[in-house]
Symmetry: C2
Subunit: 196 residues, 2 copies
Amino acid sequence: VSSTARTGRRKGVTKTREAIAAAARHAFAELGYDRATIRTIARSAGVDPALVVHFFGPKDALFVEVMASPVQSDAMARLAEEDRSTIGRRLAELVMTVMEDADGRAILLGRIRAASTEPAAVELVRETVVRNMAPLTAALTDDQPERRAALVGAHVVGIALARYVVEVEPLVEMTPEELVDALAPTFQRYLVEPLS
Amino acid sequence: VSSTARTGRRKGVTKTREAIAAAARHAFAELGYDRATIRTIARSAGVDPALVVHFFGPKDALFVEVMASPVQSDAMARLAEEDRSTIGRRLAELVMTVMEDADGRAILLGRIRAASTEPAAVELVRETVVRNMAPLTAALTDDQPERRAALVGAHVVGIALARYVVEVEPLVEMTPEELVDALAPTFQRYLVEPLS
């Protein structure tokens, strides 16, 4: 086997793996954990179910692997470096950018929908709510940074569930810019103003 | 059959029906819609599965019936009658009272957990997010009352999911009073202050 052939095969494997991961992400986001089966994921990726299991193992392992990529954690950390009087608005803008991006939204919604039933997903939603946000709040203040991260994270999760899963009309109709305007002062307070 | 016997039988039926409804509410809240089966609900109510179906019909009909009771809608409407400078705090207090009550929490969590997979539940979560809150915001202002209701509702849903389903530590550790302090200014702004 020549090295070119090997590279070609490796590329093919990587491509197939990525196709399965993308199909899984969208199936979990759209159907929820219980209804997204290995079979439906394989079908939408155009592969045999056995290949999905071969690459990723059982469904809970597949879920954790495709949903684990952190949501914009670098961009999140950099927010603290700039003017803190605009931190609420800049975080709201970043959150809306992630939610309006197809892949960012699939990861966020996949986690949230699965959290209702799947222990592995509960851990990832905890990460969404606190761990993603905690480095930011820790860099901003030493007054209850974890509570601040959790309050912002819980609000983000609520907005995502209401706008994209339940499709609550007044929230669906708001533009990302209008949502940024509405959320910015709330995030500003949760991030840097007194909590009580 | 004497009228006393008939009353006795009716009371027995009502009691059994209520026991099934309570068992269903808690199963939906704890297991989520897909994993709460007619069989598990019947077992926890101490009745035959056929009796559950006889009283309530199939699972989706059972879900809607036991989850449909509005969450404190009278108390919610009365909030608008008092001082609007304290409306955010009074709403936060009412929300925490509902969430810290076992039945109120079961209804709220049952709806939220089911919303990920069950169309009938999606409609009830829409109700949780907007319809419960809309009469309050409509009584307070004619500046975007539905958006205001949706923003508050989405935040409540996010806090409920994070505190009781995902059990995000910093939120679990907060007392209801601390949560009221944290949420009150946010609700105040969403209810009566400019949104942008």
